[in-house]
Each structure stands twice: as structure tokens, then as C-alpha cells.
Symmetry: C2
Subunit: 397 residues, 2 copies
């Protein structure tokens, strides 16, 4: 109970971890700015900076622009103080990376790998790739500070385990987190693919936006919610599940067992099936996008109509959450303006004026890298969180 | 920028404000427990407790249960260290109160007062009642630590001003917060009525629930969202507006100017109008509830059908947010099981199994006091927030 209170509710000033947060976000990067921002004495600042320097977490980043007196040293995160290992596991395709502590990739690999091969096979392969990438990046195990993994199914976040994932046979309850903690002795975080995409887009593209909704439109439809600057996971980690909200023809059967779900009419899988019936060779959402990009009228109409259905659901979401940015990602986002036009049409028609006055609806800037960037963000923000840093600097190395 | 970072993101241990938070929530109430919870030296704990005692914020609350050694003193918040002035202003009815710092009412008053009389008239009356109540509670202005006000319309929270409130003519942009700060020199917070009801129910009835949705069903329909333990207001303070999500007959005109909104079919105003057409004397939602309580079959059916429509919208909300508790409040909540049955029916039919596995749907425990309790909670949590307390104890009185 105390940990929740300490971690969540209590703001504070002036610990080493706090100073590092101010430095790495650029709020205060010189001793003078840090003293002003925290109200601490210069001597205390110097002591804390020594601790951070001894832990290897900060470095001098050159002289700050002169303000008349003698030049002051500009401080920065030492992004080389360690690496994070991250993986974005998809249904059929995965991406694995070694990043520095600023989120820059040092080595990366993408490959086709069916998640349905099961946890042992897939995670063994991920570990093998992590080893190869560490060699390629010229780092060893001692450099690994944290690990971040995204998977295409529901995750019990605190335990780092998948829970009844529909497209991941054999993964239910598998202790993903514990496996990597044992292998690398580093803190490991596991979350679902849409949540890490939301984290990635927020971290890299919209860091100052408090309330952001990330919508993934691929074979299915899901969303990740950044609310008050933090990922909202919900009581069972099930938040963001907009694909099974009723929209479109009520008779349309959904793979979830219900009728009339949004993704049964507007998901990439549904569009591919509909166009296939009309005589096109569309196996999946990528094929639908290819048809749209080739200017096929039926495909364009289908995508635009899907956008309207998605926009109807998002309109309700906008009324409920009043976000300032909606980011559209996933394979279907590459259908671009055709999809966006339908979405915008219904959001602006059905949301309240107060909620849409400053609302932006955009496609993902990171595209297919959103997940891997988010996995890195999740690991790095955990490793460099003030409480973690404070523990690190107070523990003899 | 720094203040946001300091206030929101940075956890900490061991300041006087932190100790008070641990004490008042019952996490640690003796010196030994505080030392264990914070890792601080006993001498530091003693110093901080002296600061809190000098500021009048804590008191001895008797001996703790003996654990073998000499009895340890149990510490508690000194709820008499000040008062908060709170008001819950409704469309036609208002409630005003003086509370101690534990939220216990010392004096209160409820009265009929049309909000449409305008800001000057209404707030002048509120101030007059505050004065009367302070006299009744035997306190003077110097005891006032904070003020909390709820109003029946959209509020720009940071500024404490109403924004285009539909049922509050003449209130647009009125500086409610600044008026009370000037009159009492105490921090003042203003929010809309549904948000403070959500705060009240969370604070008094479900303090350990992280994700709670409060739904007010009165003449109209609105909601307040507690997400991750905090009230989610959204980018323009417009979050929670579920009354204007499409549900029910698409042709039904809504007072917002759109067609087919939830409250146009399922709000207490809509039900009263429908039953009036059928020959009943129903002017408002209270009359509808009276008919239901008298066992009238048409009224029961109308309420149950309204419950289904509301349940359909809440099902989507549950998929999106995965709350663990939904509290149904407002006048119509007194229609009890008839309303709840319809709501539960549709939520369990249309939400995903993962989201409803542990979901509770309940009626408000606080009833018509939810708003005033929430206004007190809002003011008290602000006044006793660790950063505010730390400022107080470091400033010469």
C-alpha cells in the first residue's frame, strides 16, 4: 500500500533521480537552472550530480550559451550508460532491437515468425536474436539495464503474463517477464502491442500531449490510451478494446463470438474478405491498402465507409475522454486520406463542439516502428524513473 | 513546465507533507511505522512531526495497540486545524457546507435557488450562506483553508471559470475561483457537478478503487471518470460527456441540437415527457421515480428500457476503459433495481468477458450528498496535498 502511495501520489523535489529527469527532458540542463528549478543549494546540486556521474548516468554536453558570466557546463543524459533489449512481437512478423538509453537503435532485426509457434519456440528465438544484436552492438550482458516486450494479446501487466490471448495459442499464463528477468537479471516489462504503439507515438512524436488516443487499424481494431500523460491500462489491463464496440450491420458475426462488432465490419480482415467476394485477390489488410493505393474505386469506397464506422465509435470516445490528439496507426493507416476522411467526417459530426474545438486527428508518424519505439520507451522510462535512479545511486555499485 | 513535472511525475519520500499523507490515510500512524515506511532515521521523523505539530496539522490519537514494548503514540490528522467552505450548486437546488479537514460537516444548509438567476446573484447568496454557516460553526475567516465549488455546467478547471454552460445563462467566463480567492484569501477549486459527485463517491465509498466511472442520471445524463486514482478531466475539461453519444431512436431531437443522443431518449427529462404524453402528471425525473416507486407498470417499463440504452453506451465505455466499479447516481438512481437491471443486462451482453469479470455496477451510496462530499474532498485533498503542506511548514506562520 505504501509503495502505491509513494509511487503515485507524492511529488517531490531534489533527489538525484529528480535532477536526472529535469536534465534528460531539457527542463533544466545547467547547475544554475537546476538550482532555480528545485530551490536546492548549489552545494546539494553538486553532490547529487556527483552521484549521477559516478553511476555513469550523466555527461557534460558542451558549454551552455553564454549569458555574460563564465560559461556554464550543459549537462545531458549519458545515453551510453547501458542498453535496453526490446521486442515487438506480432502475429506473423516481429522486430527486435538493442537501443541506447535515449532510445536510439544500436542494432535491430525484423523477421517473419508466427506467434502461434508458441511461447517456448518464439521466446527462444527472441533470446537468440538479442544475443546476436548485443554482439553486433558490441555490448555484453552487464550493459543490459532493462527489457521491454510487446505481444499481440491481452497482458496482465504487473505479472508480465499473457491472459487468454485469442491469436497466441499456448501462451496463456506464460511468465514472459520472469523468463527474461532470469536470463538477463534486468527489469522486464511486458505489454500488449497497441499499448506500446501508443507509448511509442506519445514518447517520440507528442511528448507534451497529456491526452492522446492511439488507434491501431490492422486485421482487427484496437486502441491505446494516454490519459493525464500516462498509459491507462484499466483494472484487468483490458482498456482500449474498441474493436468490439457495436457499429455497422448488427448481423455481422465477429471472431469474438458476438455480432455487429466494429472490427467485423471495419477491420482490415473484414474489408479484405468483402473485396475478395467481389472478385479481388485480397488476402489481408496489406492487399486492401495496395488496391486503394492503386486507385481502385471499390476499395476506396470500402475504406472510406470503414472510416465512417470507426469515426462513429471514436466520436463517442471523444465525448467520453476529450483527448487532444487521435493518432491512427496499423497497416490500414497507409490507406491515408481515404480512411482519415471517413473518420474525421463522423467524429466532427457526432462529438460535442467543446471536445473537437482543438482536436487533431493524424496518421502515425512512426508507422511500423511505433511498437518497437514504444517497447524501448517503456523500458527506458522504467529504468530511468526517479525512484529507480535514487535506488541505484544510493546502492554501492 | 517544471511544475508539471514536479507535481505529476516525481515520487518522493520523507517530507513533512508525505508523512502527513501516510498518517491521514492510515498507512503508517506511529513513529515506528513511519520510519519503516519511509526508511528515514527516527530523528528525522521526529523533526518532521514537530513541524506538522507546530502547523497544527497532527495530534496524538491515543496509544497504539501494544506490541510488547512500551506503548507507542498513535498519530492522526488534526481535523480541527481549519475548515473548508463548499457548495454544490444545482440547476434549481443548492447545498452549502462548512466541513472540518476530515470532511465532517460542521454546519450545512440546502435551499432552492435557480442557477439561472445569474452569477452575481447566486454567488452573493452563497457567500451570505458561508458567513451564516461560519457563525453557526463558531469559526472565523482565519480558519478557512480552502473552498470547493461545483456547478451544473462545463468548467475550465485551471482557471475556475464556466465555459458556455447551457443551463447557466450569464455565467459564461465568470471568474468564480478568483471571486472566492479575493473574498477569503484561500485556495479555491471549481469543477462541474458530475466530476465532484465522482470525486465524492470515490473518496468516501471506494477510496481504494483505481478506475471508477460515476454516471449521473437526472434530467440529463453525464459521467465523471476516476482513472488511475485521479479524476480525468480531458483536454478542455469536457471528459465524461456520455449524454450526447448516439443511442436509441435516431430521429429523437436533443436539447444539444443533434439527433439521437442518449439523453434525448433515456434522460429523466425524456422519460417525464414521454409519460406525460401518456397522460401522467410527470414534470421531471423525480415525478418519474415517484411513479416507479408506486409500482406503475408503464413507468417501470420506461425506466427499464432507458436502463438498456444507458447500458449499451456503458458497455462501450467498459470496453474502452475497463473500470472496476460503475456507480449510478443522480435523481433517477432512486428508481433502483429497475434501472440497474436494464443497465446490467446490456453491459454484460455487450462488453468483453475480460472487462466484466470483476466489474461491479452499484447505485450511489452518498445519494444527493455525493456532490457536496466531493466538493469537500476536492478542497481538502488540495489543501493537504504534500506539496502544499511542505510549503506551509517551511513558511513562517
Amino acid at each position: 500500500m505504501v509503495s502505491k502511495l509513494s509511487g503515485d501520489l507524492l511529488p517531490c523535489n531534489g533527489t538525484a533521480g529528480h535532477l536526472l529527469a529535469l536534465i534528460r527532458r531539457g527542463y533544466a540542463t545547467t547547475r544554475a537552472e537546476l538550482a532555480e528549478a528545485t530551490g536546492l543549494a548549489r552545494s546539494t546540486i553538486a553532490l547529487r550530480l556527483d552521484q549521477l556521474r559516478e553511476a555513469g548516468l550523466i555527461r557534460d554536453a558542451g558549454d551552455a550559451p553564454s549569458t555574460g558570466g563564465r560559461p556554464s557546463v550543459q549537462l545531458g543524459l549519458n545515453a551510453d550508460a547501458g542498453v535496453v533489449l526490446v521486442a515487438d512481437l506480432g502475429a506473423t512478423h516481429s522486430r527486435v532491437e538493442v537501443s541506447d538509453l535515449a532510445g536510439r537503435p544500436l542494432a535491430e532485426q525484423a523477421m517473419d515468425m508466427p506467434i502461434a509457434d508458441g511461447a517456448e519456440t518464439v521466446l527462444h528465438e527472441v533470446e537468440r536474436m538479442f544475443e546476436d544484436l548485443l554482439v553486433a552492438a558490441d555490448r555484453d550482458h552487464s550493459a543490459v539495464r532493462g527489457i521491454g516486450i510487446g505481444v499481440p494479446g491481452p497482458v496482465e501487466f504487473a505479472a508480465g503474463r499473457t491472459i487468454n490471448p485469442p491469436i497466441m495459442p499456448g501462451w496463456h499464463g506464460y511468465p514472459i517477464r520472469d523468463r527474461f528477468i532470469e536470463a538477463y537479471g534486468a527489469p522486464t516489462l511486458v505489454d500488449n502491442d497497441v499499448n506500446i504503439m501508443a507509448l511509442g507515438e506519445h514518447w517520440a512524436t507528442h511528448p507534451n500531449v497529456d491526452d492522446l488516443l492511439f488507434v491501431k487499424i490492422g486485421t482487427g481494431i484496437g486502441s491505446g490510451l494516454i490519459l493525464g500523460g500516462r498509459l491507462h491500462r484499466g483494472a484487468q489491463g483490458a482498456a482500449g478494446d474498441i474493436g468490439h464496440i457495436p457499429a455497422g450491420p448488427e448481423s455481422m458475426p465477429c471472431r469474438c463470438g458476438n455480432l455487429g462488432c466494429l472490427e467485423a465490419s471495419a477491420g482490415g480482415g473484414a474489408l479484405a474478405a468483402r473485396l475478395e467476394k467481389a472478385g479481388y485477390q485480397t488476402q489481408n489488410s496489406r492487399d486492401v491498402v495496395a488496391l486503394v493505393q492503386a486507385g481502385n474505386r471499390e476499395a476506396v469506397q470500402a475504406v472510406r465507409e470503414a472510416g465512417r464506422l470507426i469515426g462513429g465509435v471514436l466520436a463517442s470516445t471523444v465525448n467520453l475522454l476529450n483527448p487532444s490528439v487521435i493518432v491512427i496507426g496499423g497497416d490500414m493507416a497507409r490507406a491515408g486520406e481515404h480512411l482519415l476522411a471517413g473518420i474525421r467526417e463522423f467524429v466532427y459530426r457526432r462529438s460535442t463542439a467543446l471536445s473537437t474545438g482543438h482536436l487533431q486527428i493524424l496518421t502515425s508518424r512512426l508507422g511500423e516502428r511505433a511498437g518497437i519505439v514504444g517497447a524501448a520507451a517503456m523500458a527506458i522510462e522504467h529504468v530511468l524513473a526517479p525512484t529507480m535512479v535514487d535506488q541505484l545511486v544510493s546502492t554501492p555499485q
